[in-house]
Symmetry: C2
Subunit: 126 residues, 2 copies
Amino acid sequence: MLKLKQDHSELVVLSVLAAGPSYGYAISKDIAARSDGHFKLTASGMYPLLTKLEKNGLVTTSWEEVKASGSDPESNGRRRKWYTLSDKGQRHLTKRIELHRQLQSILDGFVHGSMGEQDPQTGFAG
Amino acid sequence: MLKLKQDHSELVVLSVLAAGPSYGYAISKDIAARSDGHFKLTASGMYPLLTKLEKNGLVTTSWEEVKASGSDPESNGRRRKWYTLSDKGQRHLTKRIELHRQLQSILDGFVHGSMGEQDPQTGFAG
DNA sequence: TTATGATATATCGAAACTCGATATATACAA
DNA sequence: TTGTATATATCGAGTTTCGATATATCATAA
């Protein structure tokens, strides 16, 4: 299990939303699935983050009432809060990715040669 | 100026020490120079980090008295605290780099294709 | 019917981290 | 003697982290 800092979480969530609107729980499952379980963004990390993104105007939101197939039409079903990447969000993501790549590039300069013998192509020794 | 989180700072400092022993101030200058000023690890970030590394046994330390060339032999000069990467520290660094590369690899999977038209080789649009 | 797990959103709070400001002291050059 | 560089270190207000907790619906099987 790899730890995701908020910075990385934001990058991943925005990237997921760049593919189309989604909601907290689905994003969480999506991240776990697409990382083979290596990344896990739990509720306590997800919702404050989504709230922050909304507050900063990077996403727009809307509620969906999820009715059960055979349920009472009068009853309130589960509620889903959908998040859609805004234009501002897309621009932010683009900059964020540029910054991420720049960081990696410089970081690699430091890391390079600090590991002794290992395959530089894969980054894994075992 | 790119922000370095403690995780990254630790990786960079350990990588610097993998090249040979150094001390706080020199490491700080080294990092600024080798990153063309993009990374800056200031005293308030550096010393707590080095103390933590020492506490965890990743580095060993020793003090050096830095005498001025023409100074009174009796006077106390400046004091330098040298940090040397321990075997445990080298093993930790190796694992840390593997983890870093694994993280990047998965992160790239999410980021890939979230930027629209741009050169995937360099990661920079402008 | 009941209980177990999945779906779904959200906050709390203790611990850890961040980073500019601050403190202290020596060395050296203008 | 004044300013800048060298050198280590802590303080503290603000932010981040993340397991625990709370609430409620839905689906399935015992």
